[in-house]
C-alpha cells in the first residue's frame, strides 16, 4: 500500500541561500515541473499548473472526477518530478486510522515499542479514493493536513517538510462512498476536476500507451530542498492592500450569498495560491488576476449552497462577476 520514491537528481538548481530563491528561478522551476508532467499527462495544463501552485503555496489538493481520467497519474507524475519522499495510501472501507498515521510495534529484540511511521510521513502523500474510507479514517488525515503533525498514543510527531496531500476521490458510486466531512474538505487548498480529454488529446494519449508507460521513465527535475526554498520565496510575494481588499470582498460576497460561505482559512488559502500563481507568472507581487484565476478552485468547494442547481463554483463565478476590482 505504500510506496517510496527516493530518486535524487542533481540537475536542478540548488537553493541559492538555503532560504529563498529568485522569482525567475522559481518560475523556471514550475515550468520544468509542468513540462515534465506533460510527458505523462496529456492536456489538463490548467490542472497541472494548479497542482504545482498548490505545492508551492503549501496547500493540499483534492482531485475529484470519474474514474480513469488520470487523477492518480497526475499525482504520481508530480511526485516523481520532485525528488522527495512519496507515499501512497489507497483508501478502502476497511482502512484503519493507524494504517495512515502509523502504529507502535513491539520490538522483540529491544523489548520496546517502536513507532512504525505510516504512509502519511512523506513529502508528497497520495490519498487515493479518499472517500471510500469511513470518516474515522479520513479524520486521521485532518490533523496531519492542517498542523503537519501526527499524534498517536499521546505522542505527537512532526511530519516532514514539505508535506502535501494530493487526494483523489470518486464522484460516481455515491452509495459505496463516504462523503468527506466539510471540515476536511475545507483543509484542501484546491479541489480540481480533470474532465475527459479532448479528442486530439485522447488520440495522443493512446499513442503514448505503446511501449513502456511514460511514468516509468519520468525523472525528477528538482529536489526537496529546492522545493522548500521555492515555497519560502512564494511566501514573500507581495500582496498589496487593493488585492487583500479584493479577496475580502470576494469572501464577503460568498458569505452573503450562500448557506455557508468561505472561511478565513479559505481566504488565506486563496492568497497563498495567488502568491504562487504570481510567481509562476514571474511576478513578485500579486495582481487581482492571480486571485481570479485561483478563486474558483480554491473557494468553490468551501461553499455550501441550499439549492441543487447552484454549486459553490457558481457562487464564486457570481462573486467574480459582481465584486469590483480596485
Amino acid at each position: 500500500m505504500t510506496d517510496a520514491n527516493p530518486t535524487p537528481d542533481a540537475s536542478t538548481d540548488p537553493p541559492t541561500d538555503g532560504d529563498t530563491l529568485r522569482i525567475d528561478t522559481v518560475e523556471r522551476l514550475c515550468d520544468d515541473i509542468e513540462r515534465n508532467v506533460a510527458d505523462v499527462i496529456v492536456g489538463h495544463d490548467d490542472a497541472v499548473e494548479h497542482v504545482v501552485t498548490a505545492l508551492l503555496g503549501r496547500g493540499h489538493v483534492l482531485l475529484e472526477d470519474v474514474p480513469g481520467v488520470g487523477k492518480t497519474m497526475l499525482a504520481r507524475s508530480i511526485a516523481r518530478s520532485v525528488d522527495c519522499s512519496f507515499s501512497r495510501v489507497q483508501f478502502t472501507p476497511d482502512l484503519l486510522p493507524t494504517d495512515v498515521t502509523g502504529v507502535n510495534v513491539f520490538n522483540q529484540k529491544t523489548r520496546e515499542f517502536e513507532f512504525q511511521p505510516g504512509p502519511v510521513f512523506g513529502n508528497i502523500v497520495l490519498g487515493d479514493e479518499i472517500n471510500r474510507a469511513p470518516p474515522k479514517t479520513q479524520a486521521a488525515l485532518l490533523e496531519a493536513m492542517e498542523e503537519e503533525q501526527v499524534t498517536t498514543d499521546g505522542r505527537t510527531r512532526e511530519l516532514p517538510t514539505p508535506f502535501t496531500v494530493i487526494a483523489t476521490q470518486n464522484a460516481v458510486e455515491p452509495n459505496r462512498t463516504y462523503e468527506l466531512p466539510f471540515a476536511e474538505v475545507d483543509r484542501f487548498m484546491k479541489k480540481l476536476r480533470l474532465g475527459y480529454p479532448d479528442p486530439d488529446e485522447e488520440a495522443e494519449l493512446l499513442g503514448r500507451t505503446v511501449g513502456d508507460h511514460p511514468i516509468e521513465s519520468l525523472e525528477a527535475v528538482t529536489d526537496r530542498e529546492t522545493l522548500v526554498a521555492a515555497r519560502e520565496t512564494v511566501s514573500t510575494v507581495q500582496v498589496a492592500e487593493p488585492v487583500r481588499e479584493y479577496v475580502t470582498l470576494l469572501a464577503a460576497y460568498t458569505r452573503e450569498n450562500a448557506h455557508i460561505g468561505v472561511s478565513p482559512r479559505g481566504t488565506i488559502s486563496l492568497l497563498r495560491a495567488a502568491q504562487a500563481r504570481a510567481v509562476t507568472n514571474g511576478r513578485e507581487y500579486v495582481i487581482p488576476d492571480d486571485v481570479e484565476t485561483e478563486a474558483r478552485v480554491v473557494l468553490g468547494h468551501r461553499i455550501k449552497t441550499n439549492g441543487r442547481e447552484r454549486d459553490g463554483i457558481a457562487v464564486v463565478e457570481d462573486a467574480l462577476e459582481r465584486v469590483p476590482v480596485e
Binding site: E284, Y285, I287, P288, V325
Partner: protein, 769 residues
C-alpha cells in the same frame, strides 16, 4: 477634531488641532461672524454718517469686540448675556434721556419703548428718528459684544442669534439695503455651517455644498429684485408718474429723493381759491443724507391745533379742491387751522405740515387757514441768532462726510454777510447767478449739495434748494428743505390752477421771533419758461388733463403770478415777501439778474424738453457721473459674480461635472507629473478611457489585465488589433498599484505610450495617418 467644548469659563478655544493643522473651519466661521457684524454695523455707520457720531460708533464697536474677546475666556455665557443686557439698557436709557424723557421715568417708559420699537420694526427708517444717532450708539454694543463673545467661545450658531437679530431688525426698519442684508444673511449661514462643520469634525472640502447654497441665495435675491413693477414705496401717497419732478421730490411720505433727469407732468393737480398767491407747501424735510431728504419724527393726528408762528400779522384762507387723486395736502405756509371733512383724517408732521391719511379724491376739497409771516428785511436782519435748542438740534444737520471745500466755498460766498438774512440772500444770489436751470441732469453720486455747488453747473429746484439749505446749515443758520407747488396759473382773481409741472422745492430759513421764512434759490424765469413750454406742448397734444374748464381759456403767461415770484428784494429796502401774499412782488427787480447768461444756456437746453429728455445730451457733470456709476455697479456685480461662480464650481464638483471635465481633458493631457506610481496609475486610467471610447469601458469586476486581454481577444478578430505597447502601460500600472512601485523611467515610458495613443485618437489635430 473637536478641540474644545466651551462649556466652562476659562477654557480657551484652541486654534491648532491635534494634527497641528490650522483649523480652517474655525477661522472661516469667525470670519463669517465678523462679516455679519460688519453688515449691520455698516448700516448703523451709514446712519451716523448722516446724523453724526460715526467715530463714537466705531469706538463703541471696537470696544465691544475687544471686551468680548477678553471676556470670552473669563465669564460664563449667562454673565455675558447679562453684561450685554445691561449695556443695552444703559444705551437705551441714554437714548431716552436724549429724547427728552427723564432718567427716572425711563424704567417706566415702557410705552414709548414699545411704541418706538414697533414703529421701527414696521418700517420706520432709523433716519426718521429724531435721536437717530443716540439710538444707534445705544443699539450697537449689545449685539456686537454678545455675538463676538459667543463666536470667540466657539458657539457660532448661538453667536448668529444676536447678530442676526440686529440685522433682521435693521432689515425691518428698511435701513439695511439689499447688499448689507445679503452679505449678513450669507455670513450668518456661513457661520452656522462652518461652526457645525468644525464641531462635527467635517472636512473643509465639504463646504462646497455651502458655496452652492450661497450661490442659490444670491441668485434668488437677485431674481427677486428684478421682478417687474417693484414698488418703491406706498404708491398711493406718491404724486405723479415715476420720473416726473413731482414724483422725485415727493416719492414717499417721509422722504424726498433727489434724482437725475425728470419730466414735467402737465396734469392739473388741484385748484386753490385763495385770498392771495402763495407757494403751496406739501412737505417739510429736515435731515439730509447726502442723496435724499428725510423727515424725522413721528406724525401725529391732526387735533384741531397747529403751532402758529410767533410773528403772525395776518392770515390767508384757502380752499383747495383736488382735481386728481391727491396723496398730499397743499397748504400755504404756515397752516394754523384745517377745515373740511379731510381734517378728521389728517396727520401732522413734527414740522407742522399736514398730510391726508388716505388720498383726497378728485373734487374733494378742504379749507386751510394759514398765518402769514411777513417781516421786513430790516426786521430779519435784526432777528439775531438766538435760536431755540429744538431748532438747532434738528435744522443744523449736515452729513458727516461733507467736505471742507463745501464749507470753504460757502464761506467765500457769504464773506460779506453778517446776519443770517444777509447770508441767505448772498447764497440765493450766488446760486441763481452761477447755476443754470435744467431738468436734464444726471444724479451725482455722493453728497448732492456738495457736487452741485462745486462741480455741476446746472440743475433744477431740488438741487438749488438742497444746496442752499446745506450751505445755510454750514454757516450755522437753521434751514429746512420744503417741497410743494408754485402758485400755478391764475384764472380768476382768487383762483389758481396748479399742475404737476408746478411742482417745486425751496428753502425755509428760521429767524428767531419770526419763524420760518421762504427763500427760493431757483432761477425763476428760466424755470417758468421750461414749464410753460411743457404745458403748451401738452395742450397742443390735446392732453385733456392739462386744463380745467376755466383754465383752458386763459392764455398762459410765462410770468404767471407766483411762479416767478421771489421772496426777496433786490436792494433790501422793500418789505420781504414771505408768503407770496403780495401780488406786486419784486420779481421784476430780480429778473434782470439771471436774465442774461443763464437764460441763454437754459433755452438751449430746455426749449424742447421732450426730445432732450432722451438723455442724448450729456454735459460735463453728466459725463463724470456716467464714468463713476458703471464702476460702482461693476464692483457689486463682481462680488456677486464671484459668489455665483464659486457656487457654480462647487455645484459642478458636487454633481461630478468638474471631475468629468477633468477626466475628459485628462485623456489628452497627463498634467503635472508627481509620484511615479501615481503617474503610472494615471497613465493606465487615461488608457482605459481611450479604450473605453474605442471598445468598451472596463467592467468594475474586471481587472486591468483581464480587461486588456479581453480587448486584445476581441480586437484580434477585427482590425486594428490592440497596440502591443499596452502591455507596458499595464505592467507599470500593476507594479505601481500592487507591486513595489515603478521608477521614473517606467512611469514616463507608460505616459509616453498613452500620450502617443491619445494623439492618434485625437480628432482632427495631431492625427497621424
Amino acid at each position: 477634531m473637536r478641540t474644545e467644548t466651551a462649556s466652562h469659563a476659562g477654557e480657551r478655544t484652541v486654534t491648532i488641532d491635534t494634527d497641528g493643522r490650522v483649523d480652517v473651519a474655525r477661522w472661516l466661521a469667525l470670519g463669517c461672524v465678523l462679516v455679519l457684524t460688519a453688515s449691520y454695523v455698516s448700516v448703523l455707520y451709514g446712519v451716523t454718517q448722516v446724523v453724526g457720531g460715526s467715530r463714537s460708533l466705531l469706538a463703541i464697536v471696537g470696544l465691544s469686540l475687544a471686551a468680548a474677546t477678553v471676556l470670552a475666556g473669563l465669564i460664563r455665557p449667562r454673565t455675558a448675556a447679562m453684561v450685554a443686557a445691561v449695556g443695552a439698557g444703559i444705551g437705551f436709557a441714554y437714548y431716552f434721556t436724549s429724547a427728552g424723557v427723564e432718567l427716572g421715568t425711563v424704567l417706566t417708559a415702557t410705552d414709548q419703548l414699545v411704541s418706538d420699537t414697533v414703529a421701527l420694526a414696521t418700517g420706520l427708517p432709523l433716519l426718521r428718528m429724531v435721536q437717530a444717532g443716540t439710538w444707534t450708539l445705544g443699539f450697537a454694543p449689545a449685539p456686537v459684544f454678545l455675538s463676538w463673545y459667543l463666536a470667540a467661545r466657539g458657539r457660532y450658531a448661538a453667536s448668529v442669534v444676536p447678530g442676526g437679530a440686529a440685522l433682521g431688525f435693521l432689515v425691518l426698519t428698511g435701513d439695511a439695503g439689499t447688499p448689507a442684508a445679503l452679505a449678513g444673511t450669507l455670513a450668518a449661514i456661513g457661520a452656522v455651517a462652518f461652526g457645525d462643520l468644525r464641531h462635527r469634525g467635517g472636512s473643509i472640502a465639504q463646504a462646497d455644498l455651502l458655496a452652492v447654497l450661497f450661490a442659490v441665495t444670491v441668485a434668488l435675491s437677485l431674481s427677486v429684485s428684478v421682478v417687474p413693477g417693484e414698488p418703491t414705496g406706498p404708491t398711493h401717497l406718491t404724486q405723479g408718474e415715476p420720473g416726473t419732478l413731482e414724483a422725485t421730490i415727493d416719492s414717499a411720505p417721509q422722504r424726498s429723493g433727489i434724482s437725475g433727469q425728470v419730466d414735467l407732468s402737465p396734469e392739473v393737480r388741484f385748484t386753490v381759491e385763495s385770498d392771495g398767491p402763495a407757494y403751496w407747501r406739501t412737505g417739510v424735510y429736515d435731515r439730509f443724507t447726502g442723496d435724499e431728504w428725510v423727515r424725522t419724527g413721528q406724525d401725529r393726528r391732526y387735533d384741531g391745533q397747529l403751532a402758529s408762528p410767533p410773528d403772525s400779522t395776518e392770515t390767508v384762507k384757502q380752499t383747495v379742491t383736488a382735481e386728481t387723486e391727491l396723496g398730499i395736502m397743499p397748504v400755504a405756509p404756515q397752516p394754523v387751522e384745517l377745515g373740511g371733512e379731510i381734517a378728521r383724517r389728517t396727520t401732522v408732521s413734527r414740522h407742522g405740515q399736514p398730510r391726508p391719511e388716505t388720498p383726497l379724491q378728485p373734487g374733494e376739497s378742504y379749507t386751510v387757514e394759514s398765518a402769514v409771516v411777513d417781516p421786513s428785511p430790516a426786521a430779519l436782519r435784526a432777528a439775531g441768532t438766538d435760536y431755540p435748542d429744538g431748532i438747532t438740534d434738528t435744522y443744523l444737520q449736515t452729513p458727516e462726510d461733507t467736505s471742507s471745500a463745501f464749507g470753504g466755498r460757502t464761506d467765500e460766498i457769504t464773506a460779506g454777510a453778517d446776519t443770517p438774512y444777509d447770508k441767505a440772500v448772498a447764497i440765493e444770489d450766488a446760486l441763481e447767478s452761477t447755476k443754470r436751470y435744467s431738468l436734464e441732469v444726471s444724479q451725482p453720486s455722493g453728497n448732492v449739495a456738495e457736487k452741485f455747488l462745486l462741480e455741476m453747473d446746472a440743475g433744477y429746484c431740488v438741487y438749488f434748494a438742497t444746496t442752499m439749505t446745506q450751505m445755510l446749515r454750514e454757516e450755522g443758520v437753521p434751514a429746512r428743505y420744503v417741497t410743494g407747488y408754485t402758485t400755478g396759473q391764475q384764472i380768476d382773481d382768487d383762483t389758481y390752477v396748479v399742475r404737476g409741472l408746478d411742482a417745486h422745492s425751496w428753502v425755509e430759513v428760521y429767524f428767531p421771533d419770526h419763524g420760518w421764512v421762504r427763500f427760493d434759490p431757483t432761477p425763476s424765469s428760466t424755470r417758468s419758461d421750461v414749464h410753460t413750454d411743457r404745458l403748451q406742448e401738452a395742450r397742443a397734444n390735446g392732453n385733456d388733463d392739462a386744463d380745467t374748464d376755466e383754465s383752458a381759456d386763459v392764455p398762459i403767461d410765462g410770468n404767471d403770478p407766483g411762479t416767478d415770484e421771489e421772496p426777496r428784494d433786490g436792494d433790501g429796502s422793500d418789505p420781504f415777501d414771505g408768503n407770496g401774499t403780495e401780488p406786486n412782488d419784486p420779481s421784476d427787480v430780480q429778473e434782470p439778474q439771471n436774465d442774461t447768461e443763464p437764460e441763454n444756456n437754459a433755452t438751449n437746453d430746455t426749449d424742447d424738453p421732450e426730445t432732450s429728455f432722451n438723455g442724448t445730451t450729456v454735459d460735463g457733470g453728466d459725463a463724470r457721473s456716467w464714468l463713476e456709476r458703471p464702476s460702482a455697479i461693476a464692483r457689486e456685480s463682481v462680488a456677486l459674480g464671484v459668489v455665483a461662480l464659486v457656487g457654480l464650481a462647487a455645484g459642478a464638483r458636487r454633481t461630478g461635472a468638474l471631475a468629468r471635465l477633468r477626466r475628459e481633458i485628462g485623456v489628452y493631457w497627463h498634467g503635472p507629473r508627481r509620484d511615479p506610481d501615481r503617474d503610472a496609475e494615471r497613465a493606465f486610467e487615461r488608457l482605459e478611457r481611450l479604450l473605453a471610447r474605442q471598445y468598451r469601458p472596463r467592467r468594475r469586476s474586471e481587472s486591468a489585465r483581464a480587461y486588456l486581454t479581453a480587448l486584445a481577444a476581441a480586437a484580434a478578430e477585427c482590425e486594428p488589433p490592440t497596440d502591443p505597447r499596452l502591455e507596458r502601460v499595464l505592467e507599470a500600472y500593476e507594479r505601481a498599484t500592487y507591486g513595489g512601485g515603478v521608477d521614473r523611467a517606467e512611469a514616463d515610458a507608460a505616459i509616453a505610450v498613452v500620450d502617443d495613443l491619445a494623439r492618434d485618437r485625437l480628432p482632427v489635430i495631431g492625427r497621424r495617418e
